[in-house]
């Protein structure tokens, strides 16, 4: 294969070590070839989108923080590929991958990063706060662990309304020590809420390794609440899907919560501002890139299955790069929100003046 132009030119072929067993799991065996290609394409699109956003960030087109998901793509794509129409997703601030995985387009996402009014949140949320409720995607939340009670509430809402769905509530490994997470665990278990708590364990809460931050096993804490739990590797999309399928069914069919840990790895720093040279060795990053890159793992599986050929790999990659470039051009050409936009989208009533019932002033300047 032409490694230079493949989607993961930076990696080598050793990643083919992925276990083929998961391809045969019912949930994967049932996938038509075009769906496999769609999932592969999603991962490539996430990566190319983020690489393009990184260049824009370095060119000072993007403000604030930029937490990249590169290396973790199989987790969001694998999990979100299992969503039915009544399943929901909420995550923390490393949210670009989930946004694309649920079907959001690159243009509004890149425009949001650029702070433009064509952004998915009209330039009011930024990198950490992508939302698309029409696709059952509820953010994009900035405070570690703060979204976990909300995800539990989405599950509560499903159950209250008698809807057979599940809410996948993502968090990082750094979130598991937050009190709000444990409060949410307790409520979910106490009331049998259809939520799957997904810990994306990339090994580091910012610059603090799991060994230095967390006692015991991450997902095993579910035992204390009487919840089902499990651990899987998150480098092989097939493995993620095979693993998650059962926990989602448990939520949908039996309204039982669970805690799952998906072991993954991020190649970039916690955020782009992270010097990333004080807490882990470069060799460690290189080892993951070489042997466990989720895009290369899946690419090799699909090549072996003859679902993809090298020409398609190249084409998908070129298309994803082009799409990311177009999104940057779209963002660049879009207007910034004007000062008159600042006080919109604060109150429903203020945005719907003909239906306003209250009197008085809502704003104070």
């Amino acid at each position: 294969m032409n490694k230079k132009s493949s989607a993961t030119a930076e990696t080598q072929g050793e990643a083919a070590a992925a276990k083929p067993a998961y391809a045969g799991a019912p949930v994967n065996a049932a996938l038509p070839a075009e769906e496999k290609i769609r999932l592969y394409r999603l991962m490539v699109r996430i990566r190319r989108f983020e690489e393009r956003s990184l260049r824009a960030y370095q060119a000072k087109k993007i403000g604030g923080f930029l937490h990249l998901y590169i290396g973790q793509e199989a987790v969001a794509v694998g999990c979100c590929s299992l969503m039915g129409k009544d399943d929901h997703v909420i995550t923390a601030y490393r949210d670009h991958g989930h946004a694309i995985a649920v079907g959001m387009e690159m243009n509004p996402l890149m425009a949001e990063l650029y702070g433009k009014s064509t952004g998915c949140s009209k330039g009011k949320g930024g990198s950490m706060h992508f939302f698309d409720p029409a696709r059952n995607f509820w953010g994009g939340h900035g405070v570690v662990g703060g979204q976990v009670p909300l995800g539990t509430g989405l599950a509560y809402g499903l159950k209250y309304k008698g809807i057979k769905g599940a809410c996948m509530t993502f968090m990082g490994d750094g979130a598991v020590n937050q009190g709000a997470v444990h409060e949410a665990y307790n409520l979910a278990a106490l009331w049998d809420l259809p939520v799957v708590f997904v810990i994306e364990n990339n090994g580091y809460s910012m610059g603090t390794s799991q060994a230095r931050s967390t006692a015991g096993d991450l997902a095993r804490r579910a035992e204390g609440y009487g919840m089902a739990w499990g651990v899987c590797d998150g480098h092989d999309l097939y493995e993620v899907r095979a693993f998650m399928d059962g926990f989602l069914d448990l939520a949908r069919a039996k309204s039982k919560p669970s805690v799952v840990e998906v072991r993954t790895y991020r190649y970039r720093g916690h955020s782009v501002a992270d010097p990333d040279n004080t807490y882990r060795a470069k060799a460690e990053i290189e080892e993951y890139r070489r042997t466990k890159d989720p895009i290369l793992v899946f690419q090799n599986l699909l090549l072996t299955e003859k679902v993809l050929d090298e020409a398609q790999v190249e084409k998908i990659d070129a298309e994803a790069r082009a799409e990311a470039d177009v999104s940057a051009e779209f963002a660049e050409a879009s207007p910034f929100p004007g000062a008159s936009e600042i006080q919109k989208d604060v109150y429903w009533e203020a945005d719907n003046p003909s239906e306003r019932k209250s009197g008085g002033r809502l704003f104070f300047n």
Binding site: S121, W138, G139, G153, E183, D345, R361
Partner: protein, 325 residues
Amino acid sequence: MPVIQYREAIRQALAEELSRDPNVVVLGEEVAQFHGAYKVTEGLLEKFGPKRIVDTPISEAGFIGMGIGASMLGVRPVIELMFWSFYSVCFDQILNNAANIRYMSGGQICCPIVIRGPANGGTNVGATHSHTPENVLANHPGVKVVVPATPYDAKGLLKSAIRDNDPVMFLENTILYGDKGEVPAEDYLVPLGKADVKREGTDLTIVSYGRALIQALAAAHLLQQEHNISAEVVDLRSIRPLDIDTVLASVRRTHRALVVEEQKPFCGVGAQLAFMIQSEAFDELDAPIARLSTVDAPSIYSPPAEIEQLPNPQRILRAAIELIG
């Protein structure tokens, strides 16, 4: 018209809204089997069942965050905080999540929740249970803040709050729960953001809300009886949205303003009011705006001392006489 307690007025509002809208659900510590720590929700479990009236564990960040998440799907949780003082353990959920989610999603998401419970001093429970966070809450664009003083207002405002599509913080008062007043048995609404002149007068305007308003009315009575001073008393009823126009109209009649609040003075609601009055009615004022707040210290336990720390009729009376000169 029936005369009922403040707590009963709130209960009526809850019951009527629970009957009207199947998406309304009442959650909180001890709200169901125990009938409410202050008996506000007494009888609701029996009438509406455990799906609608839900006892929660002591886990404010958990169940308030959960309510916010459920509201995004169209459930309308009315969540009781046993004391508003406990807002500090769920601050992130209320003031990062509920307050900001509409904004950060570019207006795609609504958060129609009500968080209600008592927020007051005066019951000798010490500093941890005596917070009055209406200023802290109102400092966050995205939330609305309501502080009813009378049974009539409590029922009508709570019903409006439950129907509101924005998150509403509803601050009650344990000392007022037993107060009685005329409350229509039927459905009525008091809109948020409409102040109410609770007593008309000519010599000065006292602006207040919550229990301090009740104390101000007592002081106004004494001012008339003992000093022949006619005080107009304006009840804000809601802090955000704020009906400053009713306040300004009163000040334009009396030309003197005394703000009375059960708030520590620094950055309290009264500071905002004083700023707005001087800014918008400066030429109408015959004297500097006066302000009577809680004495600036953590809430003291000692019962007689706490009476002196809070606004009370005598403190308000003295402040009014000083203002009249």
